[in-house]
């Protein structure tokens, strides 16, 4: 059997294994070690799985992963974002669809404080969603708002997905994070635009709050603005020392996690239960990520050993003779299709290592591609039938929101995101302007 055939066979076997519903890391790891044993069993093929563990140990930016996960849990479990929500509620409620717009604003601020979309989702589903439903907002629209908004968590820095991408693509995390800011804010603006337009033509989707509902002494109203300081403080304690070179990336992530923790303690929200949940779930989710990455690294080493990346490169560029742009668009499409049935972490650690060298060989900018990649992942996160956000939503939303509502709520936002993706593809400066400006090249 040729190496290409073995590679295709491995991939197909892995897909089949994943469909059985066994834990993702087990499915990937099994295919990797079987292939290694069959190919190089007599020459230490059994070493590859463990040597991936040693490789993972040396991937120091991975240390940010448990830090950001912890930070996200502290923020959502301790509900220190409640005041933030109140702030948007009072200040934006008077507009048509104002609470939905405020929710997007809330999501942007939460995104600036944590690296995953889980925290935004939890805060949105538990704090914002019940309030929005109480005010007669359209349940489909607001479900979509929260899912779309929380996906900003991985595009606005800090972002765990961009850290993982940075390691795979060997690109500087700092530049990638900066590259995510403008597209992230642009996408938030597009979401808001969508809400404004929809509510303008159909005010019943997001009725404005009455005067008395928002009635509050001016001083109190202004005091609420202080809530907006929290994200600024947390973001600043993380990013200012990092951008100035006083602390390294991993140190900054620890400082961010500590700041969030201290903030929760100072606000009196760090109860025993919150502490327990944050610490326990951080272990659970970190282990989930790490074990998948561990298995995927072994899988990747076998793929590398087979020269599979070169084979794919040759197939696209030499044998099929495709234009680089066509290849690029095909890759994004394949991500979205794969995202409909493949777990996103698996997608990140298995597919990205195959695609990134190809993107580089085609002559595209890897920082720019990191942003494209992240937006595409976000879309995949949300598209049925398989999507983290969908499952989380199902788990967290109140019972009157059915699975059908959740699936139905997604479409317009996915279209907005595809539009945003197209803009970044057509105008790379949207992503590249800020990092070029800051790093001056």
């Amino acid at each position: 059997m040729s190496y290409e055939m073995i590679a295709i066979f491995m991939f197909a076997t892995m897909m089949a294994m994943l469909l059985t519903g066994q834990r993702v890391f087990g499915a990937i790891g099994f295919v990797a070690v079987i292939a290694a044993l069959v190919l190089w069993g007599d020459r230490g093929g059994y070493d590859l799985a463990f040597s991936s563990a040693m490789k993972l140990m040396k991937w120091y930016p991975l240390l940010t992963l448990p830090m950001f996960i912890f930070m996200g849990y502290v923020l959502s479990e301790s509900k220190i974002a409640d005041d933030l929500y109140k702030m948007f509620h009072v200040w934006m409620g008077g507009l048509r669809g104002g609470l939905a717009i405020g929710t997007i604003g809330l999501m942007v601020l939460i995104s600036a404080m944590n690296g995953l979309s889980v925290a935004g989702m939890a805060i949105g589903a538990t704090i914002a969603l019940p309030e929005l439903l109480k005010r007669n907002y359209d349940k489909r629209m607001v479900t979509g708002v929260i899912q779309a908004g929380s996906s900003l968590g991985i595009l606005v820095p800090p972002s765990v997905v961009l850290v993982l991408y940075a390691m795979i693509a060997r690109q500087p995390v700092g530049q990638l994070w900066l590259a995510g800011i403008v597209p992230g804010l642009m996408m938030a603006a597009l979401f808001i635009l969508y809400i404004v337009v929809r509510c303008h033509f159909n005010p019943s989707l997001g009725p404005a709050l009455s005067e008395e509902e928002r009635a509050m002494p001016r001083a109190e109203k202004l005091a609420l603005l202080r809530a907006g300081l929290l994200p600024v403080v947390i973001f600043a304690t993380m990013m200012v020392p990092f951008v100035n070179g006083w602390t390294s990336l991993v140190e900054s992530s620890a400082i961010g996690a500590i700041t969030a923790f201290v903030a929760a303690v100072l606000k009196g929200r760090m109860t025993r239960e919150v502490f327990e949940n944050s610490v326990r779930m951080t272990l659970g989710i970190s282990c989930m990520f790490m074990w998948i990455i561990l298995a995927a690294l072994a899988f990747g080493a076998v793929f590398d050993g087979l020269g599979a990346v070169n084979a794919i490169k040759d197939l696209f560029t030499d044998r099929l003779d495709l234009d680089p742009w066509v290849v690029l668009i095909l890759m994004q499409l394949s991500f979205i299709i794969m995202g409909t049935f493949l777990d996103d972490t698996a997608m990140l650690v298995i597919v990205a290592p195959l695609y990134v060298p190809l993107v580089k060989a085609l002559g595209f900018d890897l920082i720019w591609y990191g942003v494209l990649y992240t937006i595409t992942t976000q879309i995949a996160y949300m598209t049925p039938p398989f999507g983290y956000n969908l499952f989380l939503m199902r788990a967290m939303a109140p019972p009157e929101i059915t699975l059908k509502d959740i699936y139905g709520s997604i479409l317009p936002f996915v279209l907005v995101m595809v539009f945003a993706l197209s803009l970044v593809i057509l105008f790379p400066q949207i992503a590249l302007w800020l990092p070029n400006y800051v790093y001056g090249n």
């Binding site: 020459r43 590859l48 040396k58 070179g245």
Partner: protein, 318 residues
Amino acid sequence: QSTIKWRMQTYAGSALAEHVVKPAVDMFNKIAGDRMQIELFYADQLVPTGELFRAMQRGTIDAVQSDDDSMASPTDVTVFGGYFPFASRYSLDVPVLFNQYGLNEIWDEEYSKVGVKHISAGAWDPCHFATKDPINSLADLKGKRIFTFPTAGRFLTQFGVVPVTLPWEDIEVAMQTGELDGVAWSGITEDYTVGWADVTNYFLTNNISGAWAGSFFANMDRWNELPEDLQTLFRVCCDQSHYYRQWWYWGGEASLRVDGTKMELTTIPDEEWATVEAAAQTFWDEIAAESETKAKVVAIIKKYNADMQKAGRPYRYG
């Protein structure tokens, strides 16, 4: 008769490997044709550098290009690979030490003990500092987190340097994520070739060693299985690689100092740098005290440098 297939992993990432090993491997594959093909893998690609030696002993990888030091080979000569402080002044010193002063024999004996064939040693570039902030005196070294080789790092700690070891491919990113203040890993040719010149601003013209010593190794069984002519071809291609690096580095070091625009040159005055050279003598004696083999190698290095001193210009100045 089927094609013999070898897998070889180099310490270098792909940008550098383009010069330090790939031409020789391509040449080997072209000549050997259907008889034998070597597939080349880059830094950390199949196995992490820390596991490289064991993978070769076991046969997961058939051959390796690396220095002894960074792959932590379990031998008594490990510290002398890479940059042994001030052991050599020019890149020609390395092949002379190995071929004419008896290092080949010692290396052969040491590696045979651990099931590895030492094929041949060659020279690379001198070891300079490339940093974000300028270094004009020894005091400027203090507290700097520098990516360097284990033995060089051990030597440099006495000047306040904080040595950091990370996977080679991660260095450029680590400079930008603030994990490092600089590198003491190469000369200026490599700084430009691998992209480090883009993330550092200053190049110190003083070096702590004139040439990196690295080698080609193979799993002993795999090596013995090769027919003699292929063994010879492999040796010839290693020598070709050593030759290529001689002129590539020597020319590059000079022209980039003169014409390079990405890094500003700084120098620590000779009188001050002499304290570092003196410290190296002490360091040699410390190493020699560690074992009989190490003492033997240190004696050879001392004898060689004394000979060069006596030979005078152009071998040694002053």
